[in-house]
Subunit: 231 residues, 2 copies
DNA sequence: TATTTATGGTACTGCTCAGTACCATCATTG
DNA sequence: CAATGATGGTACTGAGCAGTACCATAAATA
């Protein structure tokens, strides 16, 4: 029951089967993936393309070229560009945010805890990959404040809370003295970020050497602890 | 000598003279501005449109609609979109950067100097207008690292240098004790920024109340000064 | 093996927008 | 006041890209 009343119903197709499989995630053949697999492939391609280039969602063409599948796949899997964007941002958040907070709060020594926190922060967010992800999230925030909000809450927001609770504990032990631990936590995080984060995001500065990181964190921890020490 | 061999040479023009003057900077008539004036009008329109909406360069259509003139004007005045972008970013930098540093370094008292610096920083950059300008500059940085670099150098970079020199002076007077004033300045700036700046840029937080600003700055200055006080 | 179903592929549509051509008109200058 | 030059206005062009229609084909199922 083919209704060929369409103008170009019988148009010649460019048979692209020759070498059209640009998908590098699939082992050379791998045609016809099923639902979940195709979704993963598309999402992974979108993510890697974004992260490689440090730019927000690439064009659908570019994604398909890398992942295989077709425009149609994107619409069935994600419902369109916006859905893909949502999934992509969630994916990126899921990669970067846990790395930000793992192991925080294990140290009993305050200085060690602060140093660990800062190191985690700097090495996760200021690495090449972390910066590219930051850039993607920032660019996206100009499009969707909602996604930015959720990212912030799960990332820096959560970090600030964790740090504040660490400070509360230290204050309870009498190691530090401050009115407002949340405020102090905010200050510490800012201090760790310094101007470096901005410089990295703006691509003004190359990735930091270990020595630079240590010096910066050392200075921040010193100033912070001395600033809060009990009289 | 009109060569009417063009297909639409004699096409009907929509006479738009009825009320086509959307230019608000011009007093209702003001047709046919000359060179410099048109340039200013275009640039101002581009700037206000960007700043109002917190988004990078608007479409040429939008600019023209507000400024008057025509696409042609933009090409004769700026050489195209890229030239306009350059001029726009320079314009924005020229507005925001001087405000950032004026009056810094006048105070003899270190605490007063730090507080003034921080206040200038927060009230300039975290105001609605300042945040919108920051957003524009960030978005542009994803397009042109060169412009981002120059902005950073003139803004935060310059600020860090100023602050470092203030700290040097204080150290010479024996008021503070630190190995590296540049590092310490970096820390202070970061502390002032805290998470607030990011929250504002991402539009997660509304403009700060005076009380919030004072509390935040107060905490930062306290921690910083105590952290650097001589043993 | 034949039929159905879902997925891959391609072209088309429509929109936005930068850049360009060219006409119309105002302003200047002799 | 007429000729000339510069500026305003409009439409056209072409590129990029999201979304959609529909054909082709591989997999599933009977």
């Amino acid at each position: 029951m083919r209704h060929d009343n369409r103008p170009d119903a019988g148009r010649a197709r460019k048979s692209k089967n020759e070498s059209g499989q640009t998908a590098e995630s699939a082992p050379s053949k791998a045609r016809r993936l099923k639902h979940g697999e195709r979704r993963d492939a598309l999402l992974r391609a979108a993510k890697e393309l974004s992260v490689e280039r440090g730019f927000a969602v690439p064009s659908l063409e570019a994604i398909i070229e890398r992942a295989g599948g077709s425009r149609r796949s994107i619409y069935t899997e994600f419902g369109g560009k916006e859905g893909l964007r949502n999934a992509l941002l969630a994916e990126i958040s899921d990669e970067i945010l846990p790395a930000l907070h793992t192991g925080i709060g294990q140290d009993t020594d305050l200085r060690a805890a602060l140093t660990r926190f800062a190191h985690k922060f700097v090495s996760t967010l200021m690495s090449e990959r972390g910066i590219n992800m930051s850039r993607i999230i920032m660019q996206d925030s100009f499009v969707s404040p909602a996604r930015a909000k959720s990212f912030f809450a799960r990332g820096p927001g959560e970090g600030a809370k964790l740090l504040a609770s660490i400070l509360e504990a230290a204050r309870a032990r009498g190691e530090i003295e401050t009115k407002d631990c949340a405020l102090a936590a905010n200050c510490f995080i800012g201090m760790v970020r310094g101007n470096l984060y901005l410089e990295r995001v703006l691509r003004i500065r190359p990735p930091l050497a270990e020595a630079e990181i240590d010096a910066h964190i050392g200075a921040a921890v010193d100033i912070f602890l001395d600033g809060l020490r009990p009289r």
